[in-house]
């Protein structure tokens, strides 16, 4: 029961932000300098066609009416109609959502698998050679542009060794896992260092906590302590860092999807911008913000599950 109340309360708090998000998406078409419809049609259209699209988009109405209609339609799941693809934006976006979410989850799992052992190792040998090397590797990894390291992974693992496909989404779960390995690894290479850094700090803090000192005094081995107490204490920082960085994660996936030709939301966005398909851009703006807000809600829910005091 508390879960429902908790979620409802958070959703109510999110109302001003949701209004702001829809306002930004709405303005995306109205702030275009000049005539957005003529720009969309790139000057090829007759006056009658332009007038028809104005009517279809409802752009002949007053601004406030248009905004109210936009929000009303968005709430009922109607995100408008693509000018270029002549299909509902909602269904276009829905089709592209699966590869993107698969990639995001996959990249997160890979980052955690990569970061936890490295952070444990760095914390256990702090201020020694291994710690400094992991830190340096993280700095370099973080500074690597994802479009660049993606191309290098394609050249090495895709074209030379032929271990992994270099484009597409594949068929079936196994196919997805195989096709998206290199894109997910590319994202993990910049998310991983952030995780390692905060995990290492959290574990160092946990290592000096009182109950751990007691366990140490009782004569438990360092490795027992590490796995029994310290790793558990590090779970919350992992959730936090993933939730805080979901925006960066999605930003990265936009570029990575373009490099690896994964037909997800990011590629759709880049394509919609180059064809000036404003209804699709508007719809994606809302969907991306909902993804970020949804992940933050899930993270809040996870805290509440772990720590009863958060359940207000």
């Amino acid at each position: 029961m508390w879960v429902l109340r908790f979620v409802l309360a958070r959703l109510l708090q999110a109302v001003p932000v949701l209004l702001g998000v829809t306002l930004v998406a709405f303005l995306a078409i109205h702030l275009v300098p000049g005539d957005p419809v003529r720009i969309m049609l790139q000057g090829r259209a007759s006056d009658a066609a332009v007038a028809e699209i104005y009517g279809r988009l409802g752009m002949d109405q007053p601004l406030l009416v248009q905004y109210a209609r936009f929000v009303g339609h968005a709430v009922s799941g109607d995100l408008g109609t693509s000018i270029i693809q002549r299909a509902p934006v909602g269904s276009i976006v829905w089709e592209r959502l699966v590869p993107s979410v698969f990639l995001l989850v996959y990249a997160t799992v890979l980052s955690v698998l990569l970061a936890v052992p490295l952070a444990v190792w760095a914390a256990a040998r702090r201020q020694r050679v291994a710690d400094h090397l992991i830190r340096l590797a993280g700095t370099v990894s973080f500074a690597m542009p994802s479009f660049w390291i993606g191309l290098i992974l394609i050249l090495f693992f895709g074209l030379t060794l032929k271990w992994f496909p270099i484009a597409g989404f594949g068929k079936g779960f196994g196919g997805h896992v195989h096709h998206l390995f290199l894109p997910a690894l590319t994202i993990a290479l910049f998310l991983g260092p952030l995780l390692v850094q905060s995990l290492r700090a959290a574990m160092l803090e946990a290592m000096t906590a009182e109950h751990v000192e007691v366990a140490r005094a009782k004569g438990l081995s360092e490795s027992r302590i590490l796995f029994k107490y310290v790793l558990r204490a590090a779970a919350i920082p992992v959730i936090t860092i993933l939730a805080v960085n979901i925006g960066w994660l999605i930003s990265g996936s936009v570029i990575v999807e373009s490099v690896f030709s994964v037909a997800g939301l990011g590629m759709l966005l880049v394509h919609a911008v180059s064809t000036r398909d404003y209804p699709v851009i508007q719809g994606l703006t809302v969907v991306f913000a909902l993804l970020v807000l949804g992940v933050n809600l899930l993270a809040d829910l996870a805290y509440a599950l772990i720590d009863k005091r958060v359940r207000t």
């Binding site: 001003p16 932000v17 702001g20 998000v21 306002l23 930004v24 995306a28 702030l31 275009v32 300098p33 700095t139 370099v140 973080f142 500074a143 690597m144 542009p145 994802s146 479009f147 660049w148 390291i149 191309l151 290098i152 394609i154 050249l155 074209l159 850094q197 905060s198 290492r200 700090a201 979901i246 925006g247 960066w248 994660l249 999605i250 930003s251 990265g252 936009v254 570029i255 373009s258 490099v259 966005l269 880049v270 919609a272 911008v273 180059s274 000036r276 404003y278 851009i281 994606l284 703006t285 991306f288 913000a289 970020v292 807000l293």
Partner: protein, 292 residues
Amino acid sequence: MSTAPASPAPAPASGRLRAELSRWSPSLRIGLGLLASIVLAGLFAPWLTPYDPLRQDYGAALLSPGPAHWFGTDSIGRDIFTRALYAIRTDLVIGFWTTYVPMLVGVLLGAWAGLKRGWFDAVLMRVIDTALAFPFLVLIIVILAILGPGTHNIYIAVFLVGWTMYARLARSEMLVEASKDYVLAARTLGYPTWRILLRHALPNIINSSIVFSMSDFVLNILLVSGLSFLGLGVPAPTPEWGAMVAEGKDFMQQAWWISTLPGLMIVITGVALALVGDGLTYRLGDRHVTGH
């Protein structure tokens, strides 16, 4: 700086400099050294290479790296080392302005909101919450979709969005600072808010933003090169690292150097900035950056 602790007895200038230098960590020294070399290489690019960054030479297309062309040549025969050097100017200049203009605006707005509170604070926080609900790159791409691609519009897009992180950081620092005795004292004396903000509180809250600005600088260079890679950023034929990587992506198998070597410049620049940031964290004793 009425709040600064009593300074030690004035030392001769050279002694003070030596004392300051002795407080620099190895990562600050290495980072600043690398950064200075990169900046100098960008400034003196015309003297460091005999080639023109824009001149095409089809007779010399797709040459692999060698004594004549250190980084090889691209598909239309331009010298990649030359273009990578000139691109230092493009990327560092855009990176600098897209970092420090938003920092200036964000710190002032956030500090003002944290000191004054009230409706200004409430409105500002809602705007920031909304901006941060979007993935940063998505918001920038949407703004570029409205304004059209290009360097000029990248500045506008980042100026519109980039200040929010700094404003949030400065506001949270200011909330702590606002309850301290020296701010209360200044208020009791009837100093105007802007004076308390600029003369008294700002020196105490600016450090965390300076430290954050170093990783922000890296992220902005990655952003600009990423946008250029997608074809939304710096237009051809201006030398820019991300655009150079994009130009080589269809030649990865026969000419790996076209994409790989300009990308390496981004990595080196990013590492230099990260090392400086790391060193500044120690030097300024910032308490918000964990990991130590």
